[in-house]
Subunit: 134 residues, 2 copies
DNA sequence: TTCGATATGTGATGTTATTACATTTGTCAA
DNA sequence: TTGACAAATGTAATAACATCACATATCGAA
């Protein structure tokens, strides 16, 4: 799965809701936005979110129970590096970046401890540059 | 606040529940464990958890909505370094560690992007050495 | 066309966290 | 001692987030 047009109807609706948003959305916010498109139940949203997560098109922000469209949609799964998110607690803006050194240090720890990593969450909460100067 | 004996009754009960557990507990699991001690409502747990988080005696694991007693209770707030958690999805065991290089790289990103960090979550999900060999 | 895999619709339920308000307890200064 | 304030507690209700169970529909390959 690489392109939007291969998504199913519900998956497209959910992805487009996230893509046009200026920040992360909760599943229930997405549900409310899609009522007019026929959405009636949370599961319609969660099922689409699960697929979009599989496809690497969106990310889940664990610390705020919300979802965001991937900011780097053309770097497939971000190589194999870990992704970090800086989340502004004032305006909700999310910056997505990856750092090979962080990725390497985490891998060193997991290797030397025999830990088989499956998914890693790195989320920085705080106040972004715009909101900090206000 | 540095020692257990300065905690209030409810705070002590919640902290001890976490301290004797062999892994992270959800707030409602703690509530159930403390029914016999007079706990009746979620808020009694959440209020104690908030204080214990303030005191740095416990941590919240964002990716599994659970809480765990700090594994390094004598290193006050872990210096000022960020803490990473490796969470086994098989047995629930949590390993807590900090890495100055990761801390430094995150700080470099926030500094160069004008982002004022308040709290950072690093959680590695996977399978621990014990469970991997089974 | 028939079968299986995938996707969808819907209601009910389960899990996690907060709001609102009343009461109690501890601290300290007048 | 007492009044006043801060901190802690008790309780019910509600909000927010997520999944289960079951029925139906859609699509592609055999
Ligand atoms: Zn991304
Ligand atoms: Zn901001
Ligand atoms: Zn700790
Ligand atoms: Zn394990």
């Amino acid at each position: 799965m690489t392109a939007t047009q291969e998504l199913t109807k519900n998956q497209s609706l959910v992805f487009n809701a996230l893509a046009r948003a200026d920040g992360p959305l909760s599943a229930y916010t997405i549900l409310d936005q899609l009522r007019n498109d026929g959405f009636r139940a949370p599961l319609q949203v969660y099922r689409a979110l699960d697929k979009l997560l599989d496809y690497g098109m969106i990310h889940r922000l664990e610390s705020i129970n919300a979802f965001v469209a991937c900011a780097h949609p053309h770097s497939h799964s971000h190589g194999h590096g870990m992704i970090a998110f800086a989340i502004c607690e004032k305006c909700g803006q999310v910056s997505e970046f990856s750092d090979d050194i962080i990725t390497g240090r985490v891998r060193e720890w997991t290797n030397s401890n025999g830990f088989k990593q499956s998914k890693t969450t790195i989320e920085i909460r705080g106040v972004c540059a715009n909101c900090g100067t206000a």
